[in-house]
Protein backbone atom coordinates (compact mmCIF):
# COMPACT_ATOMS: atom_id res chain seq x y z
CA UNK A 1 0.00 0.00 0.00
CA UNK A 2 1.36 3.41 -0.88
CA UNK A 3 2.03 5.82 1.94
CA UNK A 4 -0.66 8.17 0.65
CA UNK A 5 -3.26 5.42 0.52
CA UNK A 6 -2.28 4.24 3.99
CA UNK A 7 -2.65 7.74 5.36
CA UNK A 8 -6.00 8.17 3.65
CA UNK A 9 -7.22 4.88 5.07
CA UNK A 10 -6.00 5.79 8.53
CA UNK A 11 -7.76 9.14 8.27
CA UNK A 12 -10.95 7.39 7.21
CA UNK A 13 -10.76 4.99 10.14
CA UNK A 14 -10.13 7.87 12.52
CA UNK A 15 -13.00 9.87 11.07
CA UNK A 16 -15.27 6.86 11.61
CA UNK A 17 -14.75 7.15 15.36
CA UNK A 18 -17.28 9.61 16.80
CA UNK A 19 -15.99 12.18 19.25
CA UNK A 20 -16.12 10.82 22.75
CA UNK A 21 -19.14 11.79 24.86
CA UNK A 22 -18.54 13.31 28.26
CA UNK A 23 -20.61 12.46 31.32
CA UNK A 24 -21.36 14.84 34.16
CA UNK A 25 -20.14 13.65 37.54
CA UNK A 26 -21.77 15.61 40.36
CA UNK A 27 -19.50 16.94 43.05
CA UNK A 28 -18.90 15.26 46.35
CA UNK A 29 -16.09 14.50 48.71
CA UNK A 30 -13.30 12.02 48.39
CA UNK A 31 -11.45 10.55 51.33
CA UNK A 32 -8.03 9.44 50.12
CA UNK A 33 -7.51 5.74 50.54
CA UNK A 34 -4.44 6.21 52.65
CA UNK A 35 -5.05 9.42 54.53
CA UNK A 36 -2.05 11.34 55.70
CA UNK A 37 -1.99 12.75 59.16
CA UNK A 38 -4.46 15.66 59.28
CA UNK A 39 -5.66 14.97 55.74
CA UNK A 40 -9.34 15.81 55.40
CA UNK A 41 -11.91 14.60 52.90
CA UNK A 42 -11.24 16.43 49.64
CA UNK A 43 -14.18 18.40 48.20
CA UNK A 44 -14.70 17.63 44.51
CA UNK A 45 -16.52 20.14 42.28
CA UNK A 46 -18.82 18.83 39.52
CA UNK A 47 -16.89 17.84 36.41
CA UNK A 48 -17.30 16.15 33.04
CA UNK A 49 -15.44 12.93 32.31
CA UNK A 50 -14.88 11.17 29.00
CA UNK A 51 -17.30 8.27 28.75
CA UNK A 52 -14.49 5.92 27.77
CA UNK A 53 -10.68 5.92 27.43
CA UNK A 54 -8.94 7.66 24.51
CA UNK A 55 -8.49 5.29 21.56
CA UNK A 56 -5.58 4.58 19.23
CA UNK A 57 -7.46 6.28 16.36
CA UNK A 58 -7.99 9.42 18.42
CA UNK A 59 -4.41 9.48 19.60
CA UNK A 60 -3.21 9.03 16.03
CA UNK A 61 -5.10 12.19 15.05
CA UNK A 62 -3.30 14.01 17.84
CA UNK A 63 0.11 12.79 16.72
CA UNK A 64 -0.71 13.75 13.14
CA UNK A 65 -1.50 17.30 14.27
CA UNK A 66 1.46 17.42 16.67
CA UNK A 67 4.38 15.53 15.12
CA UNK A 68 6.57 16.30 18.14
CA UNK A 69 4.63 13.49 19.83
CA UNK A 70 5.53 10.93 17.15
CA UNK A 71 7.34 7.86 18.40
CA UNK A 72 10.61 8.78 16.70
CA UNK A 73 10.58 12.39 17.84
CA UNK A 74 9.29 12.46 21.40
CA UNK A 75 11.99 13.61 23.84
CA UNK A 76 13.06 10.90 26.28
CA UNK A 77 12.29 13.20 29.21
CA UNK A 78 8.60 12.93 28.32
CA UNK A 79 8.27 9.29 27.30
CA UNK A 80 10.51 6.26 27.64
CA UNK A 81 11.50 3.97 24.78
CA UNK A 82 8.29 1.92 25.07
CA UNK A 83 6.20 4.89 23.95
CA UNK A 84 3.75 3.71 21.24
CA UNK A 85 5.97 0.68 20.74
CA UNK A 86 2.93 -1.40 19.69
CA UNK A 87 2.21 0.87 16.73
CA UNK A 88 3.60 -0.09 13.33
CA UNK A 89 5.15 3.34 12.77
CA UNK A 90 5.03 7.02 13.64
CA UNK A 91 1.66 7.44 11.90
CA UNK A 92 0.62 3.84 11.42
CA UNK A 93 -1.28 1.76 13.96
CA UNK A 94 -0.66 -1.67 12.46
CA UNK A 95 -1.97 -5.08 13.54
CA UNK A 96 -1.14 -4.74 17.25
CA UNK A 97 -3.16 -1.55 17.76
CA UNK A 98 -6.77 -1.54 16.60
CA UNK A 99 -8.24 1.93 16.04
CA UNK A 100 -11.00 1.47 18.62
CA UNK A 101 -8.83 -0.02 21.36
CA UNK A 102 -7.76 2.24 24.22
CA UNK A 103 -4.40 3.80 23.45
CA UNK A 104 -1.74 2.49 25.80
CA UNK A 105 2.06 2.75 25.88
CA UNK A 106 1.62 6.49 26.40
CA UNK A 107 3.34 8.48 29.13
CA UNK A 108 1.73 10.87 31.61
CA UNK A 109 3.35 13.77 29.78
CA UNK A 110 1.75 12.60 26.51
CA UNK A 111 -1.66 12.08 28.10
CA UNK A 112 -1.45 15.53 29.69
CA UNK A 113 -0.58 17.13 26.33
CA UNK A 114 -3.37 15.26 24.53
CA UNK A 115 -6.08 16.45 26.92
CA UNK A 116 -4.72 20.00 26.96
CA UNK A 117 -4.87 20.07 23.18
CA UNK A 118 -8.62 19.42 23.37
CA UNK A 119 -9.18 22.06 26.02
CA UNK A 120 -9.50 19.33 28.62
CA UNK A 121 -7.22 17.92 31.31
CA UNK A 122 -6.57 14.64 33.04
CA UNK A 123 -8.93 13.92 35.94
CA UNK A 124 -7.41 14.29 39.40
CA UNK A 125 -7.09 11.32 41.72
CA UNK A 126 -10.08 12.61 43.72
CA UNK A 127 -12.18 13.00 40.57
CA UNK A 128 -11.24 9.62 39.12
CA UNK A 129 -11.86 7.76 42.36
CA UNK A 130 -15.15 9.59 42.93
CA UNK A 131 -16.34 8.70 39.43
CA UNK A 132 -15.34 5.09 40.03
CA UNK A 133 -16.92 4.83 43.47
CA UNK A 134 -20.17 3.20 42.27
CA UNK A 135 -22.64 5.45 44.08
CA UNK A 136 -25.95 3.84 44.89
CA UNK A 137 -24.62 0.34 44.43
CA UNK A 138 -25.65 -2.29 46.96
CA UNK A 139 -23.03 -3.99 49.08
CA UNK A 140 -23.32 -7.11 46.92
CA UNK A 141 -22.91 -5.12 43.71
CA UNK A 142 -19.83 -3.44 45.15
CA UNK A 143 -18.38 -6.76 46.22
CA UNK A 144 -18.99 -8.20 42.77
CA UNK A 145 -17.40 -5.15 41.13
CA UNK A 146 -14.43 -5.50 43.46
CA UNK A 147 -13.99 -9.16 42.46
CA UNK A 148 -13.95 -8.22 38.77
CA UNK A 149 -11.46 -5.43 39.36
CA UNK A 150 -9.11 -7.61 41.35
CA UNK A 151 -9.31 -10.34 38.72
CA UNK A 152 -8.24 -7.80 36.10
CA UNK A 153 -5.49 -6.30 38.25
CA UNK A 154 -4.19 -9.76 39.01
CA UNK A 155 -4.07 -10.87 35.41
CA UNK A 156 -4.54 -8.20 32.74
CA UNK A 157 -5.58 -9.74 29.47
CA UNK A 158 -3.07 -9.69 26.66
CA UNK A 159 -5.52 -8.31 24.16
CA UNK A 160 -7.32 -5.08 24.96
CA UNK A 161 -11.05 -4.93 24.25
CA UNK A 162 -12.42 -2.00 22.27
CA UNK A 163 -12.99 1.16 24.28
CA UNK A 164 -16.47 1.73 25.68
CA UNK A 165 -17.47 -1.93 25.76
CA UNK A 166 -18.24 -2.38 29.44
CA UNK A 167 -21.59 -1.41 30.99
CA UNK A 168 -21.90 2.23 32.12
CA UNK A 169 -21.74 2.95 35.83
CA UNK A 170 -24.25 5.19 37.66
CA UNK A 171 -22.77 8.27 35.98
CA UNK A 172 -22.84 6.71 32.53
CA UNK A 173 -19.05 6.29 32.51
CA UNK A 174 -17.59 3.08 31.09
CA UNK A 175 -14.36 1.11 31.36
CA UNK A 176 -13.17 2.58 34.67
CA UNK A 177 -12.51 -0.97 35.80
CA UNK A 178 -11.36 -4.09 34.12
CA UNK A 179 -9.92 -2.70 30.86
CA UNK A 180 -6.82 -0.61 31.53
CA UNK A 181 -5.11 1.38 34.27
CA UNK A 182 -5.47 5.13 33.74
CA UNK A 183 -3.23 8.17 34.21
CA UNK A 184 -4.47 10.92 36.56
CA UNK A 185 -3.30 14.54 36.72
CA UNK A 186 -1.79 14.38 40.21
CA UNK A 187 -0.05 11.06 39.64
CA UNK A 188 2.97 12.35 41.57
CA UNK A 189 0.82 12.90 44.65
CA UNK A 190 0.70 9.16 45.26
CA UNK A 191 3.37 9.35 47.89
CA UNK A 192 3.97 6.45 50.15
CA UNK A 193 3.34 7.94 53.58
CA UNK A 194 6.83 7.60 54.95
CA UNK A 195 8.53 10.37 56.82
CA UNK A 196 10.85 11.83 54.18
CA UNK A 197 13.44 12.48 56.87
CA UNK A 198 13.98 8.76 57.15
CA UNK A 199 15.89 7.07 54.37
CA UNK A 200 13.84 3.88 54.44
CA UNK A 201 11.84 4.83 51.34
CA UNK A 202 8.52 3.04 51.31
CA UNK A 203 9.29 0.09 53.51
CA UNK A 204 6.82 1.25 56.11
CA UNK A 205 3.97 1.12 53.62
CA UNK A 206 2.76 -2.38 54.24
CA UNK A 207 -0.14 -3.75 52.22
CA UNK A 208 -1.61 -5.76 55.06
CA UNK A 209 -1.58 -2.85 57.47
CA UNK A 210 -3.01 -0.55 54.83
CA UNK A 211 -5.93 -2.83 54.14
CA UNK A 212 -6.62 -3.23 57.82
CA UNK A 213 -6.86 0.54 58.05
CA UNK A 214 -9.96 0.66 55.87
CA UNK A 215 -12.64 -1.65 54.63
CA UNK A 216 -11.30 -4.70 52.78
CA UNK A 217 -13.46 -3.96 49.74
CA UNK A 218 -11.15 -1.07 48.98
CA UNK A 219 -8.22 -3.35 48.29
CA UNK A 220 -8.36 -2.42 44.61
CA UNK A 221 -8.02 1.24 45.62
CA UNK A 222 -4.90 0.32 47.52
CA UNK A 223 -3.56 -1.44 44.43
CA UNK A 224 -4.14 1.66 42.31
CA UNK A 225 -2.40 3.79 44.91
CA UNK A 226 0.56 1.44 45.04
CA UNK A 227 0.71 1.24 41.25
CA UNK A 228 0.68 5.03 40.91
CA UNK A 229 3.41 5.46 43.46
CA UNK A 230 5.68 3.00 41.67
CA UNK A 231 5.24 4.18 38.07
CA UNK A 232 7.10 7.25 36.84
CA UNK A 233 5.38 9.74 34.59
CA UNK A 234 7.69 9.10 31.65
CA UNK A 235 6.88 5.39 31.62
CA UNK A 236 4.81 3.97 28.76
CA UNK A 237 3.20 0.67 29.73
CA UNK A 238 1.10 -1.97 28.04
CA UNK A 239 -2.06 -1.59 30.12
CA UNK A 240 -1.81 2.06 31.04
CA UNK A 241 -3.94 4.56 29.11
CA UNK A 242 -6.06 7.57 30.00
CA UNK A 243 -9.22 9.58 29.53
CA UNK A 244 -9.78 13.34 29.80
CA UNK A 245 -11.90 15.49 32.11
CA UNK A 246 -13.13 19.05 32.22
CA UNK A 247 -14.44 21.18 35.06
CA UNK A 248 -18.20 21.68 34.81
CA UNK A 249 -19.07 25.19 33.63
Amino acid sequence: MSAVAAMALAALLAAAVPAVAMKRVPGGTYLPFYSMKDERPIPVAPFDLDERPVTNAEYLEFVRAHPEWARSRVPRLKADESYLSHWAGDLELGPAAAPDQPVTFVSWFAATAYCRDLGKRLPSEAEWELAASSPGATAEEKAEAERRVLAFYARPRGLLPHAGGTPPNAYGVRDLYGVIWEWISDWGASVMPVDPRGGAGGQEFCGGAAVASRAPESYSTFMRFAFRSSVEQRFALHHLGFRCARSAP
Binding site: S72, R73, L77, F109, P196, G199, R234
Partner: protein
Protein backbone atom coordinates in the same frame (compact mmCIF):
# COMPACT_ATOMS: atom_id res chain seq x y z
CA UNK B 1 27.33 7.76 47.86
CA UNK B 2 27.35 3.99 47.83
CA UNK B 3 30.12 2.17 46.03
CA UNK B 4 27.78 0.84 43.30
CA UNK B 5 26.43 4.31 42.71
CA UNK B 6 29.94 5.71 42.52
CA UNK B 7 30.85 2.98 40.08
CA UNK B 8 27.83 3.76 37.94
CA UNK B 9 28.80 7.41 37.88
CA UNK B 10 32.34 6.60 36.88
CA UNK B 11 31.03 4.42 34.07
CA UNK B 12 28.68 7.16 32.91
CA UNK B 13 31.48 9.70 32.95
CA UNK B 14 33.77 7.37 31.04
CA UNK B 15 31.02 6.72 28.52
CA UNK B 16 30.40 10.45 28.19
CA UNK B 17 34.10 11.04 27.61
CA UNK B 18 34.16 8.31 24.96
CA UNK B 19 31.23 9.90 23.15
CA UNK B 20 32.85 13.33 23.24
CA UNK B 21 36.08 11.77 22.04
CA UNK B 22 34.42 10.17 19.04
CA UNK B 23 32.70 13.42 18.12
CA UNK B 24 29.29 11.90 18.69
CA UNK B 25 26.50 14.44 18.72
CA UNK B 26 23.49 13.97 20.96
CA UNK B 27 20.62 13.05 18.70
CA UNK B 28 16.99 13.93 19.18
CA UNK B 29 15.65 11.91 22.07
CA UNK B 30 19.22 11.52 23.27
CA UNK B 31 20.85 13.48 26.05
CA UNK B 32 19.43 16.80 24.86
CA UNK B 33 15.97 15.18 24.95
CA UNK B 34 16.42 14.76 28.70
CA UNK B 35 16.66 18.46 29.49
CA UNK B 36 14.12 19.54 32.07
CA UNK B 37 14.46 23.09 30.71
CA UNK B 38 12.57 21.99 27.60
CA UNK B 39 9.29 22.00 29.58
CA UNK B 40 6.95 24.63 28.22
CA UNK B 41 5.16 27.40 30.07
CA UNK B 42 5.77 30.74 31.68
CA UNK B 43 7.19 31.06 35.16
CA UNK B 44 7.81 34.06 37.32
CA UNK B 45 11.27 34.54 38.73
CA UNK B 46 11.01 36.14 42.16
CA UNK B 47 12.48 39.64 42.14
CA UNK B 48 12.78 39.62 38.37
CA UNK B 49 9.92 38.82 35.99
CA UNK B 50 8.49 36.24 33.64
CA UNK B 51 10.81 33.64 32.18
CA UNK B 52 10.63 30.33 30.39
CA UNK B 53 12.71 27.46 31.69
CA UNK B 54 14.75 27.48 28.47
CA UNK B 55 16.33 30.70 29.77
CA UNK B 56 18.07 28.63 32.46
CA UNK B 57 20.14 26.67 29.96
CA UNK B 58 23.84 27.43 29.92
CA UNK B 59 25.00 26.68 33.45
CA UNK B 60 24.83 23.50 35.50
CA UNK B 61 22.23 23.76 38.23
CA UNK B 62 21.38 22.39 41.63
CA UNK B 63 17.61 22.16 41.68
CA UNK B 64 15.29 21.83 44.68
CA UNK B 65 11.51 21.67 44.84
CA UNK B 66 10.40 23.13 48.16
CA UNK B 67 7.88 25.44 49.81
CA UNK B 68 8.70 28.39 52.01
CA UNK B 69 6.30 27.66 54.86
CA UNK B 70 7.73 24.16 55.30
CA UNK B 71 8.49 23.49 58.92
CA UNK B 72 10.43 20.29 58.73
CA UNK B 73 12.80 19.35 55.97
CA UNK B 74 12.84 22.24 53.47
CA UNK B 75 14.72 24.71 55.70
CA UNK B 76 17.40 22.07 56.15
CA UNK B 77 17.57 21.41 52.42
CA UNK B 78 17.90 25.10 51.57
CA UNK B 79 20.54 25.39 54.27
CA UNK B 80 22.35 22.40 52.73
CA UNK B 81 22.39 24.15 49.36
CA UNK B 82 23.81 27.27 50.98
CA UNK B 83 26.50 25.20 52.65
CA UNK B 84 27.31 23.61 49.29
CA UNK B 85 27.54 27.08 47.77
CA UNK B 86 30.03 28.13 50.44
CA UNK B 87 32.15 25.04 49.98
CA UNK B 88 32.48 25.47 46.21
CA UNK B 89 35.86 26.72 44.99
CA UNK B 90 35.47 30.48 44.35
CA UNK B 91 36.10 30.08 40.62
CA UNK B 92 33.41 27.43 40.37
CA UNK B 93 30.75 29.29 42.28
CA UNK B 94 29.95 31.64 39.41
CA UNK B 95 29.64 28.69 37.01
CA UNK B 96 26.74 27.14 38.91
CA UNK B 97 23.16 28.19 39.48
CA UNK B 98 20.80 27.28 42.31
CA UNK B 99 17.15 26.89 41.36
CA UNK B 100 14.35 26.65 43.92
CA UNK B 101 10.84 25.88 42.68
CA UNK B 102 7.85 26.15 44.99
CA UNK B 103 5.43 23.21 45.11
CA UNK B 104 2.91 25.48 46.87
CA UNK B 105 2.30 28.27 44.34
CA UNK B 106 -0.95 29.19 46.04
CA UNK B 107 0.70 30.35 49.25
CA UNK B 108 4.23 30.96 47.98
CA UNK B 109 3.43 34.06 45.97
CA UNK B 110 6.19 35.75 44.02
CA UNK B 111 6.41 38.36 46.79
CA UNK B 112 6.67 35.68 49.45
CA UNK B 113 9.46 33.95 47.52
CA UNK B 114 11.32 37.25 47.11
CA UNK B 115 11.03 37.86 50.85
CA UNK B 116 12.28 34.34 51.51
CA UNK B 117 15.30 34.96 49.29
CA UNK B 118 16.13 38.18 51.16
CA UNK B 119 15.63 36.54 54.52
CA UNK B 120 18.03 33.72 53.62
CA UNK B 121 20.41 36.13 51.87
CA UNK B 122 20.33 34.19 48.62
CA UNK B 123 22.50 35.98 46.05
CA UNK B 124 20.27 36.81 43.05
CA UNK B 125 23.32 36.39 40.81
CA UNK B 126 23.25 32.66 41.51
CA UNK B 127 19.82 31.87 42.97
CA UNK B 128 16.59 31.64 41.02
CA UNK B 129 13.28 31.17 42.85
CA UNK B 130 10.47 30.13 40.55
CA UNK B 131 6.72 30.43 40.82
CA UNK B 132 4.49 28.74 38.26
CA UNK B 133 0.95 27.39 37.82
CA UNK B 134 0.23 24.02 39.50
CA UNK B 135 0.20 22.02 36.26
CA UNK B 136 3.67 23.26 35.34
CA UNK B 137 4.95 22.45 38.82
CA UNK B 138 3.52 18.94 38.42
CA UNK B 139 5.37 18.51 35.11
CA UNK B 140 8.67 19.78 36.45
CA UNK B 141 8.36 17.57 39.53
CA UNK B 142 7.55 14.58 37.33
CA UNK B 143 10.60 15.30 35.20
CA UNK B 144 12.95 15.01 38.17
CA UNK B 145 11.10 12.26 40.04
CA UNK B 146 9.85 14.42 42.89
CA UNK B 147 6.51 13.43 44.42
CA UNK B 148 4.48 15.72 46.64
CA UNK B 149 1.11 15.76 48.30
CA UNK B 150 -0.72 18.34 50.36
CA UNK B 151 -1.46 16.91 53.78
CA UNK B 152 -4.35 19.23 54.53
CA UNK B 153 -2.81 21.50 57.15
CA UNK B 154 -0.86 23.77 54.85
CA UNK B 155 1.99 21.29 54.84
CA UNK B 156 3.18 18.89 52.16
CA UNK B 157 4.85 15.55 52.16
CA UNK B 158 7.41 15.44 49.38
CA UNK B 159 10.56 13.84 48.10
CA UNK B 160 13.55 15.49 49.74
CA UNK B 161 15.71 15.58 46.63
CA UNK B 162 18.58 17.73 45.44
CA UNK B 163 19.04 17.32 41.68
CA UNK B 164 22.21 18.14 39.75
CA UNK B 165 21.54 19.20 36.15
CA UNK B 166 24.15 19.70 33.46
CA UNK B 167 24.39 22.92 31.45
CA UNK B 168 21.66 21.68 29.09
CA UNK B 169 19.36 20.83 31.98
CA UNK B 170 19.70 17.03 31.83
CA UNK B 171 19.86 15.29 35.19
CA UNK B 172 23.28 13.98 36.12
CA UNK B 173 22.65 12.83 39.64
CA UNK B 174 20.35 13.30 42.59
CA UNK B 175 20.56 12.88 46.33
CA UNK B 176 17.58 12.02 48.55
CA UNK B 177 16.96 12.55 52.22
CA UNK B 178 18.81 14.58 54.78
CA UNK B 179 21.23 12.08 56.23
CA UNK B 180 23.81 12.29 53.51
CA UNK B 181 27.16 14.03 53.36
CA UNK B 182 27.41 17.21 51.29
CA UNK B 183 30.93 16.72 49.98
CA UNK B 184 29.92 14.31 47.19
CA UNK B 185 27.44 16.94 45.96
CA UNK B 186 30.13 19.62 46.12
CA UNK B 187 32.54 17.40 44.16
CA UNK B 188 30.01 16.41 41.53
CA UNK B 189 28.90 20.02 41.02
CA UNK B 190 32.48 21.28 40.91
CA UNK B 191 33.45 18.67 38.37
CA UNK B 192 30.45 19.47 36.17
CA UNK B 193 31.03 23.21 36.40
CA UNK B 194 34.68 22.76 35.58
CA UNK B 195 33.88 20.95 32.37
CA UNK B 196 31.37 23.49 31.09
Amino acid sequence: MSRSRLLRRVVVLALGAALVGSGCQPREGGSSGMSVWQLEGRWTRAGDGEIELAALRGKPALLLLFYSTCQSICPALVHDLQTIEQRLPPGTRAQLQFVLVTIDPEHDTVERLAAFAREKELDPERWTLLHGPPNQVQELAAAVGVRYRATGNGQFTHTARIVLLDRDGAEREHWDGLDRPLDPIVSAATELAGRS
